[in-house]
């Protein structure tokens, strides 16, 4: 079955739904488009589960038990030169199958959730067409077998996130956020494109398999790429770092993270799907896809990944502690968790035991998708209920929203890394890998884990505990409650997953080199992080359980630091300064001015010169007969002299 074309159905189903709802949605399908979208995703999910089952348990392993890469099919899409061509293909290997399961599952949950959340929305059909477009491009990205194919779906994911963030396009802030998201990711995609060009040129191919094989084994391609260097850094490192920049842009790593908080302008289910579970992990997936090249042939690039990852996670964790908008807190927590995945990949070696980091990162990706989507959907329910994003207007909602409260609590425990929940296992692996390979990174990771626990429970207490019944919630009776069943089912399913997923022996399925990786669980090592997490929770409890002014007092005490973190370390302002002042005024305006005055000026100048010259010549025809006669005579005389004396041919 693996070689059959059914797997191609997984991305094509959402695409079909996109076309259907996009073209006919507005007039004919209306609410039916929601059901259509959900059904198509259900089918896709079932297919991917079946493929996963068959791959992992029946025929995925080759002779000596290694999961080999199966190319379901490959079709040349655009032939550049003999060796190099973009071909649309589907590759099945542990991480791609894991990813399609995650994407289809989360997308299914979001589809069900938004049937309730978006009910009564005027552009309901367009919303579902954009959602299916996004799912199609994400699945295409995940199954890509050609580096250019991944770039194509990379752009499509970018555009669909632009359309979804800017869904409420009559809100100027939404349009600005959408533009910002697209332009920042586009900037990073530029790096990705140049990275592809470099890698393609030196490896002579665009196909992942051949590219990895050519760059990891010592052959003439490998020597060519490491020989060529630019400014002291080998071309391979340049290529990989640039590709990582593309990934960093999409996964909102440090320099390119500015768009993620603003992306919360979009509807909450969109944030749950795109900015929590799927799109933002595309960067991690890309690095994982090229992992053999990263780790075997180009360690410096891996270091870059590690440091960017660890710095982003700490940086985001600090900012998250002071944000008041709950969706922004979750956005920064996503950024921090992806930082975890990145540096997990960074510290990991290749193959066998020291491939632990790779397995841990993928495992964390898997678990994080579950509970982060749950957090966002829960936050969505709260916002839906309170009609505001700000923590200040919330508090004491545990009674009016029981299910959301429990599911939200489970998710917070999971993300904080408390033992029975999923987060604990994946974070444990990451910390173990970090401990084994890179001590300083381990220390920072531990601290960030503690901070994560703190801000997550700060959020939890502020929403569900803190102030008792707030007066403006008198409108209890209109039975708004926690929203319809369609919103609660996904929450509960995800909550169950957030608990259960941790127990999957991930090592058996996903590992850096395909061989099984059994990780024994030693309580002694995991004691430290759990204690740190509990202390974080207690601190949050201390500050926010009751509505007391303690947290504000601490805020004044910290003063400058507090304001800096609240203002997101002024990164946004710096970027605005750069784009507004530098790009627009120092480059754009002069370019337009030069074009208008200098280049155009020269053309007009040549016109005026011709004009003036003809104006100067005009008086010669003065009408005075004698003047003409004089010119005539002088002319005749000079020609006579010229021809007689000077003409020597």
């Amino acid at each position: 079955m693996l070689h059959s074309k059914i797997i191609a159905l997984v991305p094509l189903l959402p695409f079909a739904v996109f076309l259907l709802t996009g073209l006919f949605g507005r007039k004919y399908l209306k609410n039916f488009s929601g059901i259509l979208g959900t059904l198509s995703l259900l089918v896709a999910f079932v297919i991917s589960i079946y493929t996963a089952y068959e791959y992992f348990f029946i025929q995925g392993r080759d002779a000596n038990g290694i999961f080999e890469k199966i190319i379901a099919f490959k079709y040349t899409w655009l032939q550049f030169s003999p060796g190099v061509s973009i071909d649309m293909g589907v590759v099945l290997d542990p991480i791609s199958i894991m990813m399609i399961v995650v994407v289809t599952f989360i997308s299914l949950m979001v589809h069900i959730y938004s049937m309730g959340y978006m009910k009564g929305e005027e552009r309901y059909a367009t919303y579902y067409s954009f959602l299916s477009l996004f799912t199609f491009s994400m699945l295409g990205l995940v199954l890509a077998s050609n580096i250019f194919q991944i770039y194509i779906f990379w752009e499509l994911v970018g555009v669909s996130s632009f359309l979804l963030i800017g869904f409420y396009y009559d809100k100027p802030s939404a349009v600005a956020a959408a533009k910002k998201a697209f332009i920042v990711t586009r900037f990073a995609d530029l790096g990705f494109l140049i990275g592809i060009l470099i890698l393609a040129f030196y490896s002579g191919t665009l196909d992942f398999g051949t590219l990895i094989e050519r760059f990891t084994t010592h052959n003439e391609y490998y020597s060519a790429v490491t020989a060529a260097s630019f400014m002291g850094v080998s071309a391979l490192t340049w290529g990989l770092v640039l590709v990582f920049i593309g990934g960093a842009g999409k996964s909102a790593m440090f320099p390119f993270h500015v768009w993620l908080p603003d992306a919360m302008e979009g509807p909450t289910p969109v944030s749950a799907l795109i900015h929590a579970a799927t799109m933002v992990v595309a960067g991690v997936y890309l690095v994982a896809r090229l992992f053999p090249v990263f780790s075997l042939s180009c360690p410096p690039a891996l270091e870059v990944v590690t440091y960017v990852g660890i710095f982003s996670s700490l940086f985001a964790a600090l900012i998250a502690c002071t944000q008041t908008d709950i969706k922004r807190v979750l956005a920064y927590s996503t950024m921090s968790q992806i930082g975890f995945m990145m540096f997990a990949l960074g510290v990991s070696g290749y193959g066998g035991e020291h491939g632990l980091g790779y397995m841990a990162s993928m495992f964390h990706l898997f678990t994080h998708a579950m509970f982060k989507a749950l957090l966002f959907l829960g936050a969505g329910a709260v916002i839906h209920f309170v009609h505001s994003n700000d923590m200040k207007d919330m508090g004491g909602l545990r009674k009016s929203m029981p299910i959301t409260h429990i599911t939200f609590l489970i998710a917070c425990l999971a993300i904080a890394g408390i033992p029975p929940f999923a987060g604990f296992f994946s974070k444990e692996e990451i910390l173990a890998a970090a401990y084994a390979n890179n001590k300083p990174v381990f220390v920072v990771a531990i601290i960030t884990a503690g901070i994560t626990a703190f801000y997550m429970f700060r959020l939890y207490f502020n929403i569900f505990w803190n102030k008792e019944k707030i007066e403006n919630h008198s409108h209890e009776e209109h039975s708004h409650g926690e929203g319809p069943m369609t919103m609660l089912i996904p929450l509960s399913i995800l909550a169950i997953c957030a608990i259960g997923v941790g127990f999957i022996p991930f090592g058996k399925f996903v590992s850096s080199d395909g061989k099984e990786l059994i990780t024994e669980f030693n309580p002694m090592f995991s004691l430290g992080p759990v204690v740190l997490a509990l202390s974080g929770i207690l601190l949050a409890l201390f500050f926010y359980k009751k509505a007391n002014g303690k947290s504000d007092k601490v805020a004044e005490a910290l003063g400058g630091i507090y304001r800096a973190t609240y203002k997101k370390f002024y990164i946004d302002e710096i970027y605005l300064f750069i784009t507004k002042k530098v790009v627009f005024n120092l480059v754009g305006r002069p370019a337009a001015w030069i074009d208008k005055n200098i280049v155009d000026g020269v053309i007009n100048l040549s016109a005026t010169v011709a004009d003036n010259f003809s104006e100067a010549i005009r008086p010669i025809q003065s009408g005075k007969v004698q003047q003409y006669a004089i010119y005539f005579f002088i002319g005749a005389l000079s020609f006579a002299v010229l021809f007689i004396y000077f003409w020597k041919n």
């Binding site: 005009r618 008086p619 025809q621 003065s622 009408g623 005075k624 007969v625 004698q626 006669a629 004089i630 005579f633």
Partner: protein, 104 residues
């Protein structure tokens, strides 16, 4: 002094020619311009006759040319004066500077 040959005559005719040119270019009065033209034509006649006499005694072409030039000069003078009179009627002066309406 030796006998008067062709060069001496040519000197006279060239002098006459350039005096005519000077007259034509400087005189402000149309009629004096006409007179200078007559001088130029006469210098040409002298040349024809001199060449006919000294260089081509065997033929009379030079002579016939002179006759033709004389007739043309006569007709040209007639027409020129008619135009001058007409201009005079229009411009009330025959100063050549005034007749510059045909210009840019």
């Amino acid at each position: 002094m030796n006998a008067i040959g062709l060069p001496q005559i040519l000197v006279v005719s060239t002098a006459l020619f350039f005096i005519g040119v000077y007259g034509f270019l400087t005189r402000r009065n149309m009629i004096s311009m006409l007179m200078s033209i007559e001088l130029i034509l006469n210098s040409v006649n002298i040349n024809f006759i001199a060449f006919n006499k000294y260089l081509f005694p065997g033929k009379l072409d030079g002579l016939f040319f002179t006759v033709i030039i004389i007739t043309i000069a006569a007709s040209e003078a007639a027409v020129a004066i008619a135009i001058i009179i007409n201009l005079y009627r229009k411009y009330k002066s025959i100063d050549v500077e005034d007749a510059n309406s045909m210009r840019f």
